[in-house]
Amino acid sequence: MIEIQDIYKSFGENEVLKGISAKFKPGKNNLIIGGSGSGKTTLLKCIVGLHEPTKGDILFDGENFTDMSFEQRVPIRTQIGMLFQNSALFDSMTVEENIMFPLNLFTEKTKEEKRERANFCLERVNLKGTNNLYPSELSGGMKKRVGIARAISMQPKYLFVDEPNSGLDPKTSILIDELINELTEEYQITTVIVTHDMNSVMGIGDNILFLHNGKKWWEGSNREIAHTDNKELNDFVFASKFMRAAKAKL
């Protein structure tokens, strides 16, 4: 489980996060949603250690991540998988080399074992046979799936996903959501997803955190979201005619 306690983050005079606390449970899709500039990506970057919070604590299974040095964080970091908005694949490496990269650095597996694991991960994301392709030869959806394969190569306990559906067609978006959902349930991963996509919110949002102006404005599940009377959340989730029509039918 990941617990964030009273997180504040400022960039100069600009206070982006204002005292956010939450718990992210294993085996659940924990979604962070909110409008542009609400602080969701900053919160995600604070949790994974790319930004240091100005104040507050982040606990991974009870261990205070914020107090740790770079070396002390390494064992936790090897249990973290992350899918970036633009996949962030290493473009000088093939698909297989991308997936094997963390295995090369942090495991004592033989080359054959690492290749086997890479093949397993690729099979898991339905990309069997793409081992020798370079990221530039892949479509956006394939890059996301390779990103997921790389993220799960070390069998992570925590999976962080930044805007998994951005730039994807609706069908591929749903495939990516389903894949993340399956992996979360299958391996009981604590998954934290930052998203704008309302299909993801309604489809896989086990626990949803709505941020507004850097504060936690609402927390609940996708079942509860349709019945909330929180004005800012309603304005955000049901901004489109389609979503309003869908809500009316509920």
């Binding site: 994974v48 250690g49 090897t78 973290i80 962030a88 473009d91 963390p102 650095l105 942090f106 962080f160």
Partner: protein, 243 residues
């Protein structure tokens, strides 16, 4: 300026932390050595031969007095090649070739979140990305300078053969005459320092890139310009200290 200098020193300190796995870093060092050394061999060879030839012809032209032995052209061409042209001009060219490539490669990795991906995995990103490039720079630039010296002197010989301004025999005699090992030591010290300057400054510029494609280009330009200025400054300091 002091803020940037502090950031640069801290980045260098991070770059030389203990590697997560030596074998992976070693493979990177080898890859960078090939890219820096073999990749630059062509341009360095062409420049060295032409500079060596031009220097010899110009020296011969300026020392046309019957009181000065013709062989002196060989001695002067040798020393200017060893002390200045091969280490300094080659390094300025290498700053353009290797430096811009380092800054843009690391800068692109920064803006496409590849460096963030490394950090999240628990990899010491400065160590993995920068230290192999610095090691390759300080080992391969001296080798390139040695090749450049050899080719520069050879270029002078070819110029003598083709132009006839100085006879090849006089030129060879001049090259042998009064040779001091110290000049080669100075050239190698310069090469090591310049290799470090090019790789570390350009890596620093790339590592702290923020924004997009435009900023990556600006980082590469800054990296090359600052490296060139620092090479010229270090050239003066080393020359003053060692000669």
């Amino acid at each position: 300026m002091f803020h940037s200098l502090g950031k640069y020193i801290l980045l260098l300190r991070l770059s030389f932390r203990k590697p997560e796995k030596f074998s992976v870093y070693w493979a990177e060092v080898m890859r960078e050595m090939v890219s820096t050394g073999v990749g630059s061999l062509g341009i360095i060879s062409i420049i060295s031969v032409f500079i060596g030839a031009a220097t010899t012809i110009q020296v011969a032209f300026q020392l046309s007095s019957p009181l000065v032995p013709r062989s002196i052209a060989g001695s002067i061409a040798r020393d200017t090649n060893i002390l200045e042209f091969s280490p300094t001009i080659s390094s300025l060219v290498l700053a353009g070739r290797i430096g811009s490539s380092i800054a843009s490669q690391i800068g692109t990795m920064r803006v496409t979140e590849q460096i963030d991906a490394l950090e999240i995995m628990g990899v010491n990103a400065p160590g993995y990305l920068i230290s192999p490039k610095i090691i390759a720079g300080v080992t391969m630039v001296p080798l390139l300078v040695i090749i450049s010296i050899t080719l520069g002197i050879t270029g002078g010989y070819i110029a003598c053969l083709l132009s006839g301004d100085v006879s090849p025999a006089d030129y060879i005699a001049g090259v042998h005459d009064g040779f001091e090992g110290l000049t080669v030591r100075v050239a190698l010290v310069k090469a090591v320092v310049f290799g470090f300057i090019i790789t570390s400054i350009c890596a620093y510029q790339g590592f702290y890139t923020s924004g997009g494609a435009l900023e990556v280009g600006q980082s590469a330009t800054k990296g090359v310009v600052y490296s060139c200025v620092m090479i010229l400054f270090a050239d003066l300091v080393i020359t003053r200290l060692m000669l």
